[in-house]
């Protein structure tokens, strides 16, 4: 269910990123003011955009989870937010490098993107501790979804507020994508595409891996129930912040059959 298309996705990701890198390093002209350092722009901004979209996607998946109560949506929400957090860290790091290179400071308050990113990052950094602090898995998923939706709505609002409050001391090259010469725009778009593909591929990998592991556990549990031997015994899962794709993700049949054996023996319908 999760695995198909993974290979095609991975290949296209590698291809697009390779093209983007080639464009950035060999083709696109140097920017007048900042020189070579400006090339970070092609990494930093796509990272930021993809991370922000990822956070919002996490919120949308969470809405689906609350509506349908299916574990798979919580799963997607978790992976999206997880991955966006990683991309977010990368955004902050690349932004910091650029700030240091351009203005001599490792951090500047004048870039609204960077600042609102910091706040968003601080917020989402509490996502995992929140999940870990709730033991009941169903409640964990539900509370995490509530958080994801609130935080998802927060992202644009925060952006607006910070932007309104930031004094534009330095020219905002980060945001000025509209005035770029066409070579830069093209390279930027290719980078953006590559970054988006990378995000999606990584998410898919994580989803597939976890799903396969969950299916394996379910099968082992089924085997344990039927044979009841120590070999097939399934180790208890410890406390975890990650959602468990337990039986609801499996077909309803598997669950139903698992419940039958005892009943069939004693004639209970």
């Amino acid at each position: 269910m999760y695995g198909k298309g993974l290979r095609a996705l991975s290949i296209s990701t590698v291809v697009v990123i390779a093209i983007a890198l080639a464009l950035v390093f060999f083709w696109v002209p140097l920017e007048a003011e900042q020189g070579f350092l400006q090339k970070i722009f092609y990494v930093h901004v796509p990272l930021a955009i993809v991370a922000l979209c990822g956070f919002i996607a996490g919120g949308i998946f969470a809405i689906q989870h609350l509506r349908t109560r299916e574990a798979k949506w919580d799963f997607r929400s978790y992976v999206a937010i997880h991955m966006s957090l990683i991309f977010g860290v990368a955004t902050l790091i690349t932004g910091s490098i650029w700030a240091k290179g351009s203005w001599g400071h490792w951090w500047v308050w004048d870039e609204p993107t960077l600042v609102s990113f910091l706040i968003v990052f601080l917020l989402y950094a509490t996502y995992q501790p929140l999940r870990f602090a709730i033991e009941d898995p169903e409640r964990q998923s539900r509370y995490a979804s509530v958080f994801a939706i609130t935080a998802g709505a927060f992202v644009p609002l925060n952006f607006i507020a910070v932007r309104a409050s930031t004094a534009y001391v330095h020219p905002r090259v980060l945001g000025a994508t509209s005035n770029l010469p066409w070579q830069m725009s093209l390279t930027f778009l290719v980078s953006l595409l590559g970054m988006a593909l990378l995000f999606t591929t990584l998410c898919k990998y994580e989803l597939t891996a976890k799903h396969t592991r969950a299916q394996l556990r379910a099968l082992r549990r089924l085997a344990e129930r039927r044979t009841g031997t120590a070999e097939t015994a399934v180790p208890r899962r410890g406390r975890s912040a990650a959602p468990s794709l337990h039986a609801t993700a499996m077909s309803a049949n598997a669950q139903h059959h698992a419940a039958e054996p005892g009943g069939a023996r004693t004639g209970l319908r």
């Binding site: 609350l66 706040i119 968003v120 601080l122 917020l123 509490t126 501790p129 929140l130 602090a133 709730i134 033991e135 409640r139 539900r142 509370y143 979804s145 509530v146 958080f147 939706i149 609130t150 935080a151 709505a153 927060f154 609002l157 925060n158 607006i160 507020a161 910070v162 309104a164 409050s165």
Partner: protein, 252 residues
């Protein structure tokens, strides 16, 4: 005497609200529920005095600490607005932490969930209660602030109250949502503020920027409309979100 009680039809006598023709009670009207909850909330607070005195004392103490930390006798403008809002925010966190504790520990959630009521009534009641606590907090903290740290500023009190009111609604909405989220987790005292503070940054931005022209030496200006708009928009969006999501937090 006791033998006459059970199952007696007289028990089903209606209160003021109407009873359906078939004699079966429907859902209790939300207004009554909110009133009952708010009343209970304020009654418990009055008896235990857990939240409001602590919040107020914290705020005043913090102003004193700021005096020493900043090494100034008086502050105004941006600095004054910042100190005021940060202190109010942190004091509010104390209230947020205690908001649902009594319910979580003494079975208040179950008791409420068993009743035939609209579940968002609890959100409304708790939000109003937190609002009341914030108002009382400000009744103590703002005069203390003006006395201790900003005596020379020409404070436009009415406008300041307006800005504070707008900010309070946002703090109450997010505070209630986050409090309900955090109370039934393991690290409940830590998670509350940790979740709430980033979410409340826009309130700080809007509130502080709007208040800063009100706390200047000499002639006080008026708050820029865009900050009031930011506060209003925030209140609206998160008020609605809290309303939509709260029910999901109540279930077991």
């Amino acid at each position: 005497m006791s033998a006459t009680i059970p199952g007696s039809e007289s028990a089903r006598r209606p209160v003021a609200s109407g009873e359906r023709a078939d004699g079966r009670r429907g859902t209790t009207p939300t207004l009554n529920v909110v009133r009952a909850l708010l009343r209970k909330e304020l009654l418990v607070e009055l008896r235990t005095l857990e939240s409001v005195p602590g919040m107020s004392l914290f705020a005043v103490t913090t102003f004193v600490v700021f005096h020493f930390a900043l090494n100034r006798n008086s502050i105004d403008g941006d600095l004054a607005a910042g100190v005021l809002w940060v202190t109010l925010l942190f004091a509010a966190m104390l209230g947020v932490n205690r908001l649902f504790v009594a319910d979580a520990d003494q079975g208040g959630f179950d008791g409420f969930l068993l009743a035939p009521v609209e579940r968002s009534a609890m959100l409304i009641a708790k939000l109003l209660a937190l609002l009341v606590y914030l108002v009382v907090l400000e009744l103590v903290a703002v005069p203390a602030f003006l006395l201790l740290l900003a005596p020379s500023s020409d404070h436009a009190l009415c406008s300041l109250i307006g800005v504070l009111a707008l900010g309070d609604v946002g703090i109450a909405a997010i505070g209630t949502l986050v409090a309900a989220l955090a109370v039934r987790t393991r690290a409940r005292d830590l998670l509350g503020p940790l979740l709430a503070l980033p979410l409340l940054v826009p309130i700080v931005i809007g509130g502080a920027r709007a208040s800063s022209p009100l706390l200047v030496l000499g002639h006080a200006g008026s708050p820029a409309a865009r900050w009031l708009l930011t506060l209003g928009l925030y209140d609206l969006v998160f008020g609605l979100i809290a309303y939509a999501l709260f029910d999901f937090l109540l279930e077991d």
